[in-house]
């Protein structure tokens, strides 16, 4: 990479940071408990809108993992989730009145909060329907992973988005509050992912899975990106570029080995496809606040009307992280 390109990326990073700084004005503080945060605490960052029903399990899942503090940006919720979050003892919450789209799908808001509060901490940036799975997560807490990453001088950790879906119609089994959504959406595609390199940012672009298979078979280039780098030892100079797919400085995107070896990586179980999905898709279609003119939701709505079935004969049922590691979706790397 030449000096000029390197400098361009630097300017771009500064631009995102300035943008995040400007967008801070859209955030209204609702509950600030950040004074509780101690050195080395593990932080979760999340934007949400009308996800009240998912929040209890989400919080419990990450508390059990050892997360110490949650940062939420609530985007105009109408289902009482804001009040629910404000009442939690380990949550700081802001409400955002502006456009989700014009805050680059929440990235600007979170970049600001991370700049402000995450410096020197391990920060996990996830959506309320994403459940982080990492090697040995059944026997070792998240801190074991971050301590190991620290000791190995690794600053960012990759976790690919793995779309989970139920067998049968999406609306066949209603989701109950507090329930593990993976009990319902327990199936996934194990081996139909395609990867290419992004020369500009140095990250991988992973596509595939049930969304490419069912919603985008005629236009696979439009299928959503699945590569994510959600866990980062944050520094105030860092910035997410688009969702958690890409980071700057670009060295943070180097979460893969190019010489044949495997780096350690995890998976984000994506429990998007529950009975709540159709309603969400319709609503988001009206709001038109999602990526690329909500092309994803348009494709979903078109397909889901006639046959909401993502399951196929070769779908794999989720058991644990070891299964994902054997299937080659994640890796222990040299963590043993």
């Amino acid at each position: 990479m030449g000096v000029i390109q390197s400098y361009r990326l630097r300017l771009q990073r500064k631009r995102w940071r300035i943008r995040a700084f400007r967008k801070r004005r859209e955030l209204t503080l609702v509950e600030n408990r950040t004074s509780q945060i101690k050195r080395n605490d593990l932080l979760v960052f999340c934007t949400q809108r009308n996800e009240r029903i998912r929040l209890p399990y989400f919080l419990q899942y990450y508390r059990d993992m050892g997360v110490d503090h949650f940062f939420f940006v609530d985007n105009d919720s109408t289902d009482g989730s804001l009040d629910y979050l404000a009442a939690q003892p380990d949550v700081s919450v802001w409400s955002a009145k502006g456009s989700y789209k014009r805050a680059r799908f929440g990235v600007d808001w979170l970049n600001w909060l991370q700049m402000r509060y995450a410096h020197g901490h391990w920060a996990l940036t996830v959506d309320p329907d994403e459940f982080f799975v990492y090697p040995f997560c059944d026997t070792r807490p998240l801190r074991a992973l971050t301590d190991w990453l620290d000791a190995s001088s690794i600053k960012s950790f990759s976790a690919m988005l793995l779309d989970m879906y139920p067998k049968g119609r999406l609306d066949a089994q209603p989701y109950r509050e507090g329930q593990d959504p993976i009990e319902i959406a327990s199936w996934f595609d194990s081996g139909n992912y395609t990867i290419s390199r992004n020369p500009q940012f140095g990250n991988l672009w992973v596509q595939g899975g049930p969304r490419a298979r069912v919603f985008f078979p005629e236009a696979p280039e439009k299928a959503p990106a699945l590569n994510k780098v959600p866990l980062v030892k944050w520094d105030r100079r860092y910035a997410y570029v688009s969702s958690t797919h890409t980071l700057l400085p670009r060295g943070l995107n180097q979460v893969y080995d190019e010489w044949g070896g495997e780096k350690a990586s995890g998976v984000l179980l994506h429990a998007k496809f529950l009975d709540t999905f159709s309603a969400k898709a319709t609503e988001e279609l009206d709001r038109n606040e999602h990526y690329a003119a909500s092309v994803e939701y348009k494709a979903y709505a078109a397909r889901l009307e006639d046959d909401p079935q993502l399951w196929c004969k070769w779908s794999e049922r989720y058991i644990n992280w070891r299964q994902l590691e054997i299937l080659g979706l994640m890796s222990k790397g040299n963590w043993a």
Partner: protein, 565 residues
Amino acid sequence: MSVGIVMLVHNAFGRAEQVARHWAAAGCPVVIHVDKAVPRRKHDAFVAALADVKTIRFSTRYRCEWGSWGIVAASQAAAELMLVSFPKVRHVYLASGSCLPLRPVQELIEYLKERPQTDFIESATTADVPWTVGGLDAERFTLRFPFSWRRQRYLFDRAVDIQRKLKLQRRMPNNLVPHMGSQWWCLTRRTLSAVLQDPDRKTYDKFFRHVWIPDESYFQTLARLYSTKIESRSLTLSKFDFQGKPHIFYDDHLQLLRRSDCFVARKIWPYADRLYEAFLTDPAGAMKRTEPNPGKIDRIFAKAVERRTRGRPGLYMQSRFPNEDWENGVTAAPYSMFQGFAELFEDFEHWLSRTTGARVHGHLFAPDRAHFAEGQTTLNGALSDNPILRDYNSSAFLTNLIWNTRGERQCFQFGPMDNQDINWRVARDPNAQVSVITGAWAVPLFRSNLDFAEIRKTAAKLQRIESAHMDVLRAPRTKARVRIWTMAEFIEAPMEPLQGILDEIGRNRLRRLSEAPRMVNLTGFGQFLQNLKNQGMHPYLMGDFPVVRGVDDEAKPSLKPYLVK
């Protein structure tokens, strides 16, 4: 009081205290060295916490930066204090704050009592053992290292480069032979005091001060001068990853550690409560004796290093995406690609799957869809047969297919009418077994009902494509196992090539082929080719096909036309 413990501590003081108390309670005096980088407040609290134990001392503090002299200075000071304060100590065991005794301390004491003259220190000559990661082994001794590796990496590397370029070399004092080994040793009073009271110690210290990672070479080299009996192994279990950092043990390693034959393990994650609970108990409550099986630990950690450096062949994923030619296996397993066979033989796919037991697909890269075996629309791993999805990244389609079906041999048909994007990928893959009957694509044309003008056009196109493909397969860069026959050559004696291919696919097929696939009726094929020639389109890939051939001898298809004895 025959064993004294020297403990180097720099963090996790709660755990260090626990372990120090454990040693002391078993009758081992302990000398603790606390890194000078530790803030005074923490240090004082730690000292105060252990004030009630008579046999615990604290030695002069040094700054212990990894790779630098400080760790040796700290070990020297602590060992000296140990030898002076506890005259009954016969063996000194060097440990760290994150070490954990795996066996009851009494066992260690008895073990050392039975070997009063033995020094346990891993010590190998640099000349004979490729020791280190990162390229510095003998150079650790011959170069100078004025910069910190951790904080001044750039300067560190430049300093090494310059010294290499200028061929600057230091000489070992008194012709010492450099030895290296694990920094965790257990030395006898005799050897240790000889090293510490050596009249030349000043010279040695001055030399080793500028050696890279001297804690892995100072005692290892000098012990060789005085020890009467060196057992070159460490009593501390310590595993290193590919960058030379120690692996860390967690709660889930409990069963593994129980089976170690070492006395002490390093390094333990400070929050591994179960490990500390299990091993820091009195001997009675301690582990049930299990047969030591250190090999298992070795395997697990060796595998971790292997996974990190070599990875799983044929896997492409979020954290393994090798550059071309660095794949360590383009695909996960051997597979076979057949070109022209399905055209020349009736029902070739079923025959092949019957004879070999492999999974035989049709034309996976056909324009209309991927023809999976048994007409399936998805395959292992939820691989879709959609042609657009497939062609979006056809080499990923192939590598995914082979990865998803590990353990089962895959065969598929290919031809010039299929998507040709994967040709180089396959050609460069040593796992690929490619068998081609050139020109066989003409057979379906010959049997088709198309306009002759149409046939001529298609034939010209297919011939061009196949010819380009053959150039790829014959290129010097090609690593696949390639067999190419012209059609004329092949039908002359089809059994031999078939047998050869099947032998290579292997699988309990030692018997000779008894059943051959049935060849399609080629009556008039020679004339068909001649017609193409007459139209100005010379089909050359089939080889020499006589015009009249096939009129007599292949006129009537029999049930089993080729029976081989």
